[in-house]
């Protein structure tokens, strides 16, 4: 037993040394980078006009590198499918029914949060904000509801829920395919429509993100009423 602990401490010492060496190396590397590096900021600003939004980050996320975002919506949905595929996740043990405070808070905050989400979504076009922030806030609302003991009714946890979950990715892909059918490239918006399309995608995305995150918080798949 003593031997074992000895070995363990020795192992940890060696590990610490190795890792500090790694850290030192990486630190040196980082410091060796030039202090001035424009990166891609010029190109972004140059093309911002044609991107359909004025917030560069949103432009990159949903236009210049929109493909990444598409795949990443995929990752999110995939995580949910994965979690559901695990089957019976033991639900977090039921605490005593939520006290009046939490209940009250939920009632007050949820509408507010939804409002905030909407605002973030809207502002994302020209200032920090956007689909993911909005989605996160929506999710917070959902989590709050779940904590307050609310559960989706079996009528909604079947197909409706699924539809809500896939909307984000679905719309994204649909837009992409539609553009291809219009002889354009994948996700190649014409500058005139770009703003609208991006907004459409973002609305769907934030909705799905919010619900997906909340569903992930819930863990296992909510029980569905049997299909007739």
């Amino acid at each position: 037993m003593i031997e074992k602990t000895k070995q363990k401490t020795l192992f940890r010492l060696v590990l610490i040394m190795l890792l500090s060496a790694l850290a030192a190396g990486l630190g040196y590397v980082v410091l060796s980078l030039p202090t001035q590096a424009p990166g891609l900021s010029e190109q972004v600003t140059a093309n911002l006009v044609r991107s359909g939004v004025s917030n560069p980050v949103t432009a990159v996320l949903l236009n210049f590198r929109g493909y990444d975002t598409l795949l990443e919506m995929g990752v999110l949905l995939l995580a949910l499918v994965g979690v559901w595929s695990l089957g019976g996740i033991p639900e977090q043990r039921k605490s005593s029914p939520p006290g009046p405070v939490l209940d009250m808070l939920a009632r007050l905050l949820v509408p507010l949060l939804i409002l905030v989400a909407g605002y973030l979504l809207w502002v994302g076009a020209y200032a920090p904000g956007g689909a993911f922030q909005a989605g996160a806030v929506l999710a917070a609302a959902g989590v709050l509801l779940l904590l307050a003991g609310w559960r989706p009714g079996t009528r909604f946890s079947g197909l409706p829920l699924r539809i809500a979950l896939v909307t984000g990715l679905g719309i994204f892909v649909a837009v992409g395919m539609a553009l291809i059918l219009l002889e354009r490239r994948l996700l190649e918006y014409s500058p005139s429509f770009a703003g609208a399309l991006i907004l459409l995608i973002e609305v769907a995305a934030s909705l799905s993100i919010g619900i997906t995150l909340a569903a992930l918080f819930l863990g296992g798949r909510p029980e569905v009423e049997p299909r007739r």
Partner: protein, 478 residues
């Protein structure tokens, strides 16, 4: 026809299929099969396009690198897509009868997601986008492993998930360093701007380490056997055949295009690790008593072969390595399927009790045998061609010691394949009578095994494809 973006369809179709399967699970099998067929068609279309017009570059959103993301399809990526399509089709057919309805409703979305991730990865020309595809791939694979349920599968999946996340993060840090030193994440542009510096070396180190971890090169292979062996059979097949190859593909791209130092000391190191992987994997494969574990360790071994090209770093060597990758993908998928059939049939995969399989599952055993022939590198098979190319490369470059390892590895492989086949011929008393194996499962295995063998008879075509876009820099001089 001329200007249909087949590459994009190859990526988007599986995603659409996933959504469809997710929306109506009770139709998942027909939906999934349709998608699979469609994807195969699109890959064929892309192949036709690449053969006709040479390597293809596709700027998503019309922006083009460095601002946007490009898709790039040359001979290398095309071959990867093709082998994925073939194996994928086989696995799709196999799983129609393998999974009970309830399970298959879960299997299909995950599998199609994984397929989409693979295609996206093979087509991506952007190292950050590659990170996203790697994550997509990793999560899908983990979820699929966990599909088997039970302690082994779940812990295997957990370990696999942690490893894969660690690998991706290490890779991402490398990407960050590269972006911040060269201001782009496009492979081609990086290749132009590349110049050796501490940052670059760190990036190489981090990215290679991450990818090697995902590729399970010795000594980073510890996670592979439990995960691959405990997964449901179709999943084991596609993990061993395709998923580990994906990270190897990324590594190959980086080494060939971005890091022009393939024949440096680092290459020798990789080669050395490959050698150890071959010997160690072979040894452990020989010591296994369970069929699926044996096959999993043989994957560890065969992955070692792939790295013998790095110290040689000649066009022929790369061709050999890639050819081995292709034939191993087919053969290994077939092997796992055959093992799955035996498991399904006898209810166990204890090698010592495999008596009379030869008589009662002839097709399955034939599949296993043919796949084994290819893994041993005996003619006529893809494995043989690959081995020949690697041997030739190593002798030509005067580094004959790699050749010895190749020969030795072949003998070890023969030893453990034989260990299985030999038992399958003996006729001890029937220990366990079981239901017949569905025909699709047997034929899928056999078809893939045959493909692995045929790869040895039609070598000139794949080798010609490899030259498209000169992924290996120069043509193979002969």
């Amino acid at each position: 026809m001329q200007d249909i973006p087949w590459g994009v369809l190859v990526i988007l179709l599986p995603v659409i299929g996933t959504l469809a399967c997710f929306l109506c699970p009770w139709r998942s099998v027909p939906l999934g099969l349709t998608t699979a067929l469609a994807v195969v068609v699109c890959v064929a279309g892309l192949g036709w396009q690449v053969v006709e017009q040479g390597a293809q570059r596709y700027a998503i959103g019309g922006w083009g690198a460095p601002l946007g993301i490009d898709l790039y399809a040359d001979g290398l990526s095309l071959l990867m897509l093709m082998v994925t399509a073939v194996v994928g089709l086989g696995i799709s057919v196999y799983s129609t009868s393998y999974f009970k309805p309830g399970r298959s409703a879960i299997f299909w979305p995950l599998w199609l997601f994984l397929w989409a991730a693979l295609n996206a990865l093979f087509l991506s020309a952007d190292i950050f986008n590659l990170y996203v595809t790697l994550e997509l791939l990793g999560l899908a694979a983990v979820a699929l492993v966990a599909l088997a349920g039970g302690a082994d599968a779940l812990t295997g999946a957990m370990r696999y998930l942690l490893v894969s996340l660690l690998g991706s993060l290490s890779y991402l840090l490398g990407v960050a360093l590269l972006y911040h030193s060269f201001g782009s994440v496009d492979i081609a542009i990086l290749a132009q701007r590349m110049e050796a510096s501490p940052t670059v070396w760190a990036a190489i180190g981090l990215m290679s380490a991450g990818l090697l971890l995902k590729t399970a090169l010795f000594p980073l292979h510890f996670w592979l056997p439990p995960a691959h062996a405990s997964a449901p059979t179709p999943v084991s097949a596609l993990l061993s055949a395709l998923v580990v190859k994906a990270s190897f593909y990324v590594l190959l791209r980086l080494w060939l295009e971005i890091f022009p130092l393939a024949n440096s000391a680092l290459g020798q190191l990789l080669g050395l690790l490959g050698v150890v992987a071959v010997l160690w994997g072979g040894l452990l494969a020989l010591r296994q008593t369970r069929l699926k574990m044996l096959i999993a360790y043989s994957t560890v071994m065969q992955l070692g072969y792939l790295f013998l090209a790095f110290p040689l770093a000649t066009a022929i060597a790369w061709q050999g390595s890639l050819y081995l990758l292709l034939s191993h993908a087919l053969a290994k998928a077939a092997m796992f399927m055959a093992a799955g059939n035996i498991l399904y049939f006898g209810g166990h995969d204890r090698i010592a009790d495999l008596d009379r399989v030869a008589q009662r599952l002839p097709l399955t055993l034939a599949a296993f045998g043919l796949a084994g022939v290819s893994s041993m590198g005996l003619p006529p098979s893809g494995g043989f061609i690959a081995k020949w190319l690697l041997l030739e490369a190593s002798v030509r470059s005067g580094q004959w010691w790699w050749a010895i390892i190749l020969i030795l590895g072949g003998l070890m492989t023969a030893a453990y394949i034989l260990k299985v086949v030999g038992y399958a011929f003996t006729q001890a008393q029937v220990t366990h009578e079981a239901g017949a194996v569905p025909a699709p499962m047997e034929w899928a295995a056999l078809a893939l095994a045959l493909a692995a063998v045929l790869l040895g008879l039609f070598a000139p075509w794949p080798l010609a494809l490899m030259e498209i876009g000169l992924p290996f820099g120069v043509e193979a001089e002969r």
